[in-house]
């Protein structure tokens, strides 16, 4: 059984088909790249997987569990974490607090425990903090020195890193990354490639939306290509690089317009 199975998923917004019978699978430990021109339905698929967008038809199975009837927090509880295309940080929370929110699902302090403060509450907070710091260590000296800074004071690239850090703090089995290098310079993008490789070493599977071909070719085990809501190709990076239809749909139009 694959970790993630997308079975003939369609999404329609009114008359517009954002996704048309898209099917593919992701195996445990794999990094699958998801590419396609703007408006191809990549983010819509992410929204379906994280239960923000209901599917019109088809099924989503995550290690055998149907995702399409769940709420976003329930999907997260299964071990699926995501980042967003545009940075969605908590502006008035510190870097550390973002990591602690990432630990939300692993904490059990409820209303009464918060008021009564039995000894285990402090232990739980300390554990969450430690786990957050371990996660931040993956980002070397980018975020650790800014532990107590508000997120809104971070640079653009650091906000994007923080979003990934927050997702990682939840210890997901599957990570959905939506254009992690968008707006980054080549040096910063190279750093994200290194980071993705480190994340794989933690045993986390990744579904990656990315426009930067260097990034996608560099880290993906397999690539799925969407165009106008349909899957037009799937294969190894070198196969996709040579695929005529992909070149036409993806590159052709982009260069044809210029």
């Amino acid at each position: 059984m694959s970790l993630l199975e997308i079975q003939s998923v369609s999404v329609s917004f009114g008359g517009l088909m954002a996704l048309k019978r898209v099917s593919f699978a992701l195996e445990e430990g794999e990094i699958v790249g998801l590419i396609g021109p703007n408006g191809a339905g990549k983010t819509t698929l992410f929204n379906c997987l994280s239960a923000f967008q209901p599917v019109s038809e088809g099924h989503l199975r995550y290690s055998g569990v149907a995702l399409e009837t769940l709420s976003p927090h329930q999907v997260a509880a299964l071990g699926v974490a995501r980042t967003f295309q545009t940075s969605r940080i908590f502006r008035r929370m510190t870097v550390l607090e973002h990591l602690l929110v990432g630990r939300h699902l692993h904490q059990r302090t409820d209303l009464w425990a918060a008021i009564a403060r039995p000894a285990w509450v402090a232990r739980e907070e300390a554990e969450a903090r430690e786990c957050g710091l371990r996660t931040l260590a993956l980002f070397e000296d980018r975020l650790l020195p800014r532990l107590h800074d508000f997120a809104e004071t971070l640079s653009y690239a650091n906000r994007r890193r923080l979003e990934i850090a927050r997702a990682l703090a939840s210890e997901p089995r599957l990570l959905l990354l939506d254009e992690p290098t968008a707006g980054m310079n080549p040096h910063e993008s190279a750093g994200i490639v290194q980071l993705i490789k480190k994340i794989r070493h933690l045993g986390i599977s990744i579904l990656l939306i990315e426009h930067d071909m260097k990034v996608i070719m560099g880290v993906s085990d397999r690539i799925v290509v969407l165009d106008h809501g349909e899957k037009i190709a799937e294969g190894l990076p070198e196969e996709i690089r040579r695929n005529e239809e992909v070149l036409r749909a993806y590159m052709g139009r982009r260069y044809g317009r210029a």
Binding site: H73, I89, R92, V101, H104, L111, A114, I115, V121, R166
Partner: protein
């Protein structure tokens, strides 16, 4: 005469602060202003009054009952009136709260009558503290408000629930994706805010020996004003705002005339807000 009036103001102000904190919690979690908060406070006050007069229960049991009733009422209001409108923008929930406020007030008139309902007084004796006569009831109210502030601080400072509330307020989709059950957070925030309002209601009923259906109108307005005065999303700001309003009112009554109490209180607020539009402890809004 100054010190006793300061203590009167502090007592009343701490109750305004409890109401104001409710506005802060609801606005801070849901980005929503509720105009039914005063009526939740009134409902809590009535439950407390009934507990003492009809069932002859001690005041602290009445207090717990009033708080519990307000908690349930807040929980229900959020579920019935707000949850279906979560994606409808700012205006429809605002109108709903105005409607709810009218419904609850009229319901109270129909069920309990429009006239004042007496509430027995407690702790009528006074004690001498550092040369000043202070009523024991005022000390009880101050102690109670102070403990509620403390419990609230424990609840939301450095805990999972507090972070979940702040995260939900700042980006509820991102919080949702991180596993925060945002609907539950909204329920808890609304219930918690209502519960504090209910506590203020019960204590005001005891303090002034009366409850009545329209008591939530001015109290809600004062609480909302204190919340804006303090900076809209700051709990310490709301406490400070409530206390300043209470103190200014009482000093006005003493040194000017009782008819001017609201005028002067609101005048002070207007002046402060002109000089400091973000409120006492609020943060400056930045235009991006």
């Amino acid at each position: 005469m100054l010190i006793p009036q300061l203590i009167n103001g502090l007592t009343q102000g701490s109750l305004y602060a409890l109401i104001a904190i409710g506005f802060v919690i609801i606005f801070g979690t849901m980005n929503l202003v509720t105009f039914a908060h005063g009526e939740v406070y009134m409902a809590g006050a009535f439950v407390g009054a009934f507990a003492m007069t009809l069932w002859h229960l001690p005041w602290f049991v009445a207090l717990v009952m009033g708080m519990a009733a307000a908690w349930v009422l807040g929980f229900l209001i959020e579920k019935v009136a707000f949850r279906p409108l979560r994606t409808a923008g700012h205006m429809p929930p605002l109108l709903i709260t105005i409607g709810l406020s009218i419904i609850l007030k009229d319901l109270a008139v129909v069920l309990f009558g429009a006239e004042n309902r007496p509430v027995p007084s407690i702790y009528e004796q006074t004690v001498r503290l550092a040369g000043v006569q202070v009523s024991v009831l005022q000390l009880v109210i101050l102690g109670l408000a102070g403990s509620l502030f403390l419990v609230l601080r424990l609840l939301i400072q450095g805990t999972k629930i507090g972070r979940a509330m702040r995260a939900t307020a700042q980006d509820h989709e991102a919080a949702y994706a991180m596993g925060v059950n945002v609907n539950r957070v909204f329920s808890i925030a609304f219930a918690l805010a209502s519960c504090l309002g209910g506590a203020a209601g019960v204590m005001i009923g005891i303090y002034y020996n009366a409850v009545y259906p329209t008591m939530g109108g001015t109290a809600g307005l004062k609480g909302f004003a204190a919340c804006i005065f303090g900076g809209l999303t700051s709990i310490p700001g709301a406490i400070l705002g409530g206390i300043i309003i209470g103190v200014v009112e009482n000093l006005t009554v003493q040194f000017l005339a009782s008819g001017y109490r609201d005028v002067v209180a609101f005048l002070v607020m207007v002046i402060v807000l002109v000089l400091r539009p973000q409120g006492l402890l609020g943060r400056k809004l930045r235009t991006v």
